[in-house]
Symmetry: C2
Subunit: 338 residues, 2 copies
């Protein structure tokens, strides 16, 4: 593969001159430039980005660490991130942690070694020490979807508490009194925020919080289903269930189906995180719609802006969290029982 030297030789100039015409960083006489361009063309020369990165100390790569890219939420988040990255001349390196601390650790080290210009990260849990360390070492990090308290990096998040609040309030307005909730992973911020919204809606409306109605489904279809089975199994079963992520919503629907109940006649359901085909379900699902595309897009935007404004800065990116609005998407999975 041709190098800048070959081009220089072919065009009868120094490598510096070639570099100047590639990057337009200094004046080059028009006919010299033409000769150089002809040589590049003839040799089919494409600058080696690795060498450029080594010299300029910037890779134009952003790492994206998520738990599972095959989850539609993260898939469209990544899509947004990638679109924004491309617009700014960056590429995205994908890392799936499968919610394992250990994988996350390995990936964070890897991205650091690869000298990515920044990363977006949906933290799995308590790798704080390492993350803090990376930040002090000059790696730019933006949290997505979730955050870690006490780590000084901006985050782009959904209005989790508000969304859960509205979902719960809506169920209350429809006359529901016994409202179960299926929560995700206990130690991630989305879970605690959504729980807070649920609890606030209940107390704001004068209800007690009943621990028996709170279940954990670990953000998975199967576990969400199990948790819901437990919930619906009890003596006085809730008339409504709030599932706090997309996968667990599916699990809830399966559980209802399995028990021979029907939605919304026997049990009303609200999900968190809308997805493209929620409307095609029977019944069409009522959900709290997030905007994952925008989360990804804005997180990368934040990174790019900062990198552009402070190139090679060792200082951590600052700025407060950005909350992306949610919307209660009312369809057909909730019945009024006034």
């Amino acid at each position: 593969m041709a190098t800048i030297k070959d081009v220089a030789k072919q065009a009868g100039v120094s490598v510096a001159t070639v570099s100047y015409v590639i990057n337009g960083t200094r004046n080059v006489a028009p006919d010299t430039a033409k000769r150089v361009r002809a040589a590049m063309e003839a040799l089919n020369f494409h600058p080696n980005a690795v060498a450029q990165s080594l010299r300029t100390r910037t890779t134009h790569v952003i790492g994206a660490v998520v738990s599972d890219i095959s989850n539609p939420f993260f898939a469209t988040l990544i899509r947004g991130a990638e679109d924004c990255a491309r617009e700014n001349g960056y590429s995205l390196l994908i890392c799936n942690t499968s919610e394992k601390l250990e994988n996350e650790l390995v990936y964070l080290q890897l991205l650091s070694r690869k000298r990515v210009d920044g990363m977006i990260l949906a933290p799995t849990g308590k790798n704080d020490e390492l993350i803090r360390d990376l930040i002090t070492r000059g790696l730019q990090i933006v949290f997505i979807d979730r955050k870690i308290d006490g780590v000084d990096a901006p985050a782009v998040l959904s209005e989790n508490e508000e969304g859960a609040y509205r979902a719960t309030r809506y169920l209350i307005e429809q006359g529901h009194r016994q409202i179960g909730i299926i929560l995700g992973l206990p130690h991630v911020s989305t879970t605690t925020e959504r729980l807070r919204g649920y609890e606030r809606a209940l107390t704001d409306n004068g209800f007690e919080i009943d621990r028996a109605l709170i279940a954990y489904g670990h953000s998975q279809v199967a576990e969400g289903k199990e948790a819901c089975l437990d919930l619906l199994d009890g003596a006085d079963r809730p008339s409504a269930v709030f599932a706090t992520n997309n996968l667990m919503t599916i699990g809830v629907m399966m559980a209802i189906h399995k028990l021979g109940l029907s939605c919304p006649q026997d049990v009303s359901v609200v999900g968190f995180d809308d997805f493209e085909w929620a409307a095609a379900f029977e019944p069409p699902l009522t959900t709290v719609a997030q905007d994952p595309y925008r989360i990804g897009y804005e997180a990368v935007q934040l990174l790019c802006e900062y990198i552009h404004a402070h190139p090679h800065s060792q200082d951590a990116i600052k700025g407060e969290d950005r909350r992306i609005g949610v919307k209660l998407q009312i369809r057909g999975s909730v019945e009024s029982i006034k």
Copy 2:
């Protein structure tokens, strides 16, 4: 950030020695090694992968070019690819083409400049010249999901023709005589292969091929819906529709719903490409299930094996296409009309 020089100085050895202990490429006296490791630890040294790449001419990065990572099919394909890549010490660089030739072109150039060790590519259409050029320049390419005739690179594909054949035959067995088909993008290989399977099933069973029953939905929900509306609008409407990808299947369901018809009573539907929640639909969808995870996994496997066996080879990766089996997943969207 500490470099190998800093470590060498701290440990009182040459950089070469440090390199040897990092990579274990030469004997180093045990206590020297210990000193070096201590220095690395103390300085929190992590080798610069960019410099390593420049020197060793291998980046340990694989490019993944797909049309849309937010499509569940590609999302899980990528998931499989990433899992395999990680197991082999590689990372994945993601590129969304949005089915645009122009984007594909830009990305192919980019990946070539970044000197990725290989790439998996779902070709959008007719960028043959460039792709051929990249291959001769020594870039290792494996096609996924689709292929381009006449380009000498292996592909990992579903049994498209067989899947379409079985779907169509199944509909015929259930007594359907007028079977519409909604095809994807005209110039991609999956489309032609699936059409071939459909036609073969018809002729094998003594039916004529009726052009009026063949529609194009360009692989999108909205266009699939439109195409289906056209199909169902005619005088003698088909009793069954075969939608040849996941998005268009959704479009077909929407179209049926919109016309006030119901599935499967009025129109039977078979989709191509199963997805996680197809079973949760009402009716549960009968589809030809592909295994995108395995497609991604095996494609990367192929790359890694080749790269491992022929490091730095300029010769294009060879080997015949690998077909991943499909399975007709019978659920509830087809009615028998015997």
